[in-house]
Amino acid sequence: MTGWTDHLLIAPIVVPMLAGAAMILAGDRRRGTVVALGFGSTLLLVALSAALLRMAEAPELHIYRLGDWPARFGIVLVLDRLSAMMLALAAALGLAAFVFSLARWHRAGTHFHPLFQFQLMGLNGAFLTGDLFNLFVFFEVMLAASYGMALHGSGTARVRAGLHYLVINLVASLLFLIGVSVVYGISGTLNMADLATRMRDVAAEDRALLEAGLAVMGIAFLLKAAMWPLGFWLPGTYAAATAPAAAILSMLSKVGVYAVLRVWLLLFGAEAGASAGFGGTTLLLGGLLTIAFGAIAVLATQNLPRLAGASVFVSSGTLLAAIGTGQAAVTGGALFYMASSVLAIGAFFLLIELVERGREVGADVLAVTREAFGTGEEDDDVEAADEVGVAIPGTVAILGLSFIACALLLAGLPPLSGFLAKFAILAPLLGPTGSAVPATSWVLVVALVLSGLATVVAMVRAGIDAFWASPSGTVPRVGVIEMAPVALLIALCIGLTIAAGPAMTYMQAAAEALHAPGGYLRGVLATPAAGPEGGE
């Protein structure tokens, strides 16, 4: 703890927490105050994550010890390249979804803004925490808020899907707890770094139990990441949720992937002794099956929201399979893919709502919402939409261009970052480092290419359906405030394409650090310079 900049580490958790609490105190009636608070908080988060991204590039690890207790006893927050990147993605997506919600959706139910802030707090906490139990706590904060977000706007479809989502996630939390307590019972620590150093010395008879505990915990992570047999809850929930909620919910599945990346690479790296590489095959195979399932789902879906849900499957599967190969270079590519797909899927979820608006289905959903929330809101809504933004001439053209950009990004076609990301995963798989390419790599290559093809086919079909063969022919009314977030996310993807060199260097460095966690362990476990005694 030297300068004030050290305290920046905890700010991404504290800022949304305070903003959310203040919003609850202000009450839903004072909408101006609430919106101003939310806007301030999300903007501040973007600025903070940019600053943290800078800090993470420094060679030494940034640690925040709460109460200045040494890591083995106290709670630590850890900032490395991976967590800084995830914070930045969450902040960008948060800003986009927040601005989008201002056009109309935040009025579809109560307490949208506080829930949104707590959701961001949970996400940021999960990315920053350095111990397993706090990971659980932040998972719960994030999930508790997400239950509210998924149900936002009410209506039969949402409640029906929300019930499944709630029950499944509650069971996953229980599994998480079982895993955590088994790990603690055997190793006597919950700090990830401390646990990693103890992995090698676990007694032979306890090792199987410890691995089983971690595997049970892994099920909870993979359920969030929607790996194949665990992900059937996903399309229904995301399709039923309101657009801004769905965009931020799509980040939750990446939290599962993040947890797998962090915990698996830390604990089962080369230094883990007999446990090294435990579960890698499961990740790889599970990822491949998820890609296959996602590709079929993408082709089979008839409506746009479910198409977006299915593309979450494809992206999760790609990430898990790439991580499962256990090569640092492939992981680097996967991180690039993660950044690109988070932004693209977020933009797609927001865009869908705008495209659907001119069509029967979208009108249906809106009608349901209004019905549930009272008809008085309706006039207000239309009026406000007029105030918010003049309907742009050529709306359809802009929507269509955005749709094409999303399609290119999701399918991984040039020239956008989706292609670069896939290339960055594929190139090391086939690279000259290993002279003989193993069969599993070939399977992964084929799966990636085929899933891209399936996405192209589905997106083209959906695009033709939405823009060229629209039966009603009405132009959807879209305000600038709704188009801007989509444009922002797509612009970020384009930025990622243009700045691919520096971005890729950053991701590779992050992947190297994940695969050789020595620096992480030393950084976390180093005793603080002027810290107090252990308290015993």
Binding site: F133, V137, E140, L143, A144, Y147, L151, S154, G155, T156, V159, R160, G162, L163, H164, L166, V167, L170, V171, S173, L174, L177, I178, V180, S181, V182, Y184, G185, L190, E536
Partner: protein, 114 residues
């Protein structure tokens, strides 16, 4: 002691899983509660089980770390209970909303066709 606790955990978890797989929302919520009791007991037992030990110190005895039960699992279980309680309450609300909106207490929101 170990046998009784593990049997209790097993019975709770088994009944919880069975109820969780039933089609009525009320059965599901009771199942979840039972399962969370089982998990809480399980966490508690990872700290080690002791019978007849003093809470902190025995009279006329020098305190020793070896005689304490590990407090961390107790802290964990407390957190888990609080979080589980809150989420179960939320689930109850959603359950009632689903009952009101769909007119049935089936978990899928509609009765299976016979």
């Amino acid at each position: 002691m170990e046998l009784i606790v593990s049997l209790a955990i097993g019975v709770l978890a088994g009944s919880g899983v069975w109820l969780l797989l039933r089609p009525r929302t009320f059965q599901v919520i009771i199942g979840l509660s039972l399962l969370s009791y089982a998990v809480n007991l399980f966490i508690f037992s990872t700290g080690g089980l002791r019978t007849g030990a003093a809470a902190i110190l025995e009279r006329g005895e020098v305190g020793s770390l070896a005689r304490y039960t590990d407090p961390v699992p107790q802290a964990l279980v407390l957190t888990a209970i609080v979080i589980g309680f809150a989420t179960t309450a939320l689930l109850l609300v959603v359950l009632l909303a689903a009952r009101g909106l769909t007119g049935t207490d089936h978990v899928d929101g509609r009765e299976r066709e016979r």
